[in-house]
């Protein structure tokens, strides 16, 4: 089997990316001015959520899709990012309560991303020695610990009630308050999504990225090729945690409210579901997964009790019939078409 097809060439990829980007910039702008469709504030929230989940699933993909390490604890990193940014920016809590000074939200989002990365690296020190189910257990435990801290350390986090009126992002006097203009926040999220996806692509197509993929493919051979497997696993955890921590910051300054319920174990499972549904180990899969699952989630608001059941069934269908996720559909179809024409289906 050889690499082929227009969208696998560099030129094809660039054109496709440029077209999609232009649509993502222009369509919401036209909608905001009622040129096409109608202005719909709820729709922007949905787009922002998809952007945030895209960052999370892309981060998870670096760990799971490329390095081959499972994590059922990414809601823990999400929690650290969200609460971290609240505690650094809220006048009544954390840093603001202690010193009277707060950080501007945009700075704190970047700072908590770095802090989350460090915590990810710390978690990875024991995690890098574990595989499969032991690693799953460790990451689940991590998620639980972080959740319990958020829920029980009331002096720090206000416990299960949560913290309200989280300050909005302002950059150079421009307010990104979601009350006045959700469109602006959408562009902020879009900016981060693009930057982080470009960074992801750059990492994957480098010496470091090849090291990560080599670990997924064959840890023994990776070690024999001069790759310090433990160090690279730690690096992968840290990068992954950076993405999710940053997404946590973006999330909390959009919603303006944080409570521990958002970061329960189920949330980690949903992240994994998104990734598997969209397809792991590529650029497009996490985006597709985040988008489709977010739409399903919002569409099923009235069926909230059955949500996990529906995810379960969807995941089962994907794993059984389309293990590469939605992003692999193209290949599956072209394979079927080739077989239909009597051409060889190269394997």
């Amino acid at each position: 089997m050889k690499k082929n097809g227009f969208f696998e060439t560099k030129k094809g990829k660039t054109i496709a990316a440029a077209v999609i980007l232009a649509l993502l910039v222009i369509i919401p702008l036209l909608m905001d001015n009622n040129i096409i469709l109608k202005q719909n504030k709820y729709f922007y929230v949905l787009l922002c959520l998809i952007g945030i989940y895209t960052i999370i699933t892309s981060g998870l993909d670096i760990l799971f899709g490329y390095t081959g390490q499972i994590s059922f604890g990414h809601a823990g990193f999400f929690c650290i990012g969200a609460y971290g940014s609240v505690l650094l920016t809220h006048p009544g809590w954390g840093l603001g309560k202690l010193t009277g000074y707060v950080l501007p939200p945009i700075l704190s989002i970047l700072l908590v991303a770095c802090i989350t990365a460090c915590i990810g690296a710390l978690l990875a020190v024991p995690a890098s020695k574990l595989v499969f189910h032991f690693l799953s257990m460790l990451t689940i435990a991590f998620n639980q610990i972080i959740y319990l801290i958020a829920n029980n350390f009331s002096w720090l986090t206000n416990g299960s009630i949560g913290i309200t009126s989280v300050p909005a992002v302002t950059i150079l006097g421009f307010s990104f308050s979601t009350v006045s203009s959700k469109l602006r926040y959408y562009y902020l999220v879009l900016f981060f999504v693009i930057v982080l996806l470009v960074v992801k692509t750059h990492i994957i197509n480098s010496r470091v990225g090849r090291g990560l993929i080599a670990i997924r493919e064959n840890p023994t051979a990776a070690n024999g090729c001069g790759i310090n497997v433990a160090k690279y696993k730690i690096m992968s955890f840290a990068i992954s945690a950076f993405y999710v921590g940053l997404a946590g910051g973006l999330y909390v300054h959009m919603i303006g409210f944080v409570s521990p319920d958002t970061f329960i174990q189920n949330t980690s499972v949903i992240f994994i579901t998104m990734l598997l549904f969209g397809g792991s180990g590529n650029l497009v899969g996490p985006i597709l997964g985040a988008a489709v699952i977010t739409f399903i989630q919002e569409g099923l608001q009235s069926l909230a009790d059955y949500r996990m059941l529906i995810y379960g069934v969807l995941l089962l269908i994907i794993i059984l019939f389309q293990p590469q996720g939605l992003s692999g559909l193209g290949k599956t179809f072209s394979g079927l078409a080739a077989r239909g024409k009597g051409g060889e289906s190269n394997g």
Partner: protein
């Protein structure tokens, strides 16, 4: 006398009471093709694993160019100049042939995370040079026409050659080949023998384990025979073949 490149001193490993390798001694000279043979379970691959760093010996020492290397991890040994292949092929299966060789150069490249994220000119230059080197090595090993093929869809013989290429591309001083001819047809074996000789001609020392006696006797300069983890004989192929103990170990004694 030629310079010693690898020295194995009293190498011993215990697997819960079983001495898989027992006080093994040998020296390999720079630029020779050295064979390690012995019946199944004699401890050949275990010896390889201790030299390359996959296993820690219970006691004994391994010296590479005057530097002690036993107890190192494989990635450290690789950087010091030992590259190896595996008995059960260990390729990066979903990577292309070229990508396998880029991973193979890992220890010789330097760009870390941040140069990668910002695509610095230095990183780009290093990557271009790495691709060129990978292509040259593939050409040298006769896989030049396969660079965009996924390694999992190569034939068995080609996969073995690709493992050698991946080891070779890391600029080793010593290359360790674990049963390189296993599963190859006679034509492939001939071109493999030719490749091993050309590798030696580049100044790289070769250590190999092989079951195919005709192959081993044809290309090695010296052979060490192992039996039950102990050294049974050491010498040129002709000397080893004439050794009565070796004949007994291989053909069985008259008991």
């Amino acid at each position: 006398m030629a310079e010693t490149i690898l020295k194995v001193v009293d190498l011993t490993i215990n697997f819960s009471g079983l001495k898989a390798v027992d006080t093994l001694n040998f020296e390999i000279e720079k630029g020779e093709i050295f064979g390690l043979i012995g019946p199944n379970g004699a401890g050949k691959t275990t010896t390889f694993n201790m030299i390359s760093g996959a296993l820690k010996p219970t006691s004994g020492e391994v010296w590479l160019n005057g530097q002690r290397i036993d107890g190192n991890y494989m990635y450290q040994t690789n950087k010091l100049g030992i590259a190896r292949t595996y008995q059960n092929i260990n390729l990066f299966r979903s990577m292309t042939v070229l990508e396998n060789l880029l991973v193979g150069q890992h220890c010789r490249l330097h760009s870390g995370l941040f140069p990668a994220i910002f695509r610095t000119p230095k990183e780009k230059k290093e990557e271009e040079a790495a691709v060129q080197k990978a292509r040259d090595t593939l050409e040298f090993c006769g896989l030049g026409h396969k660079e965009d093929t996924y390694s999992s869809s190569l034939s068995y013989g080609e996969q073995r050659i690709l493992e050698i290429a991946r080891a070779l591309v890391s600029d080793p001083v010593l290359i360790i080949l674990d049963e390189p001819a296993a599963g190859m047809n006679p034509t492939e074996k001939n071109s493999l023998a030719d490749l091993v000789k050309r590798i030696r001609a580049r100044g790289i020392t070769v250590l190999l384990v092989e079951h195919d006696m005709k192959f081993v006797m044809g290309i090695t300069d010296r052979i060490c025979v192992l039996n039950y983890g102990k050294r049974l004989a050491l010498g040129t192929p002709a000397e080893v073949q004439a050794n009565p103990e070796v004949i007994e170990a291989y053909l069985g004694g008259g008991d």
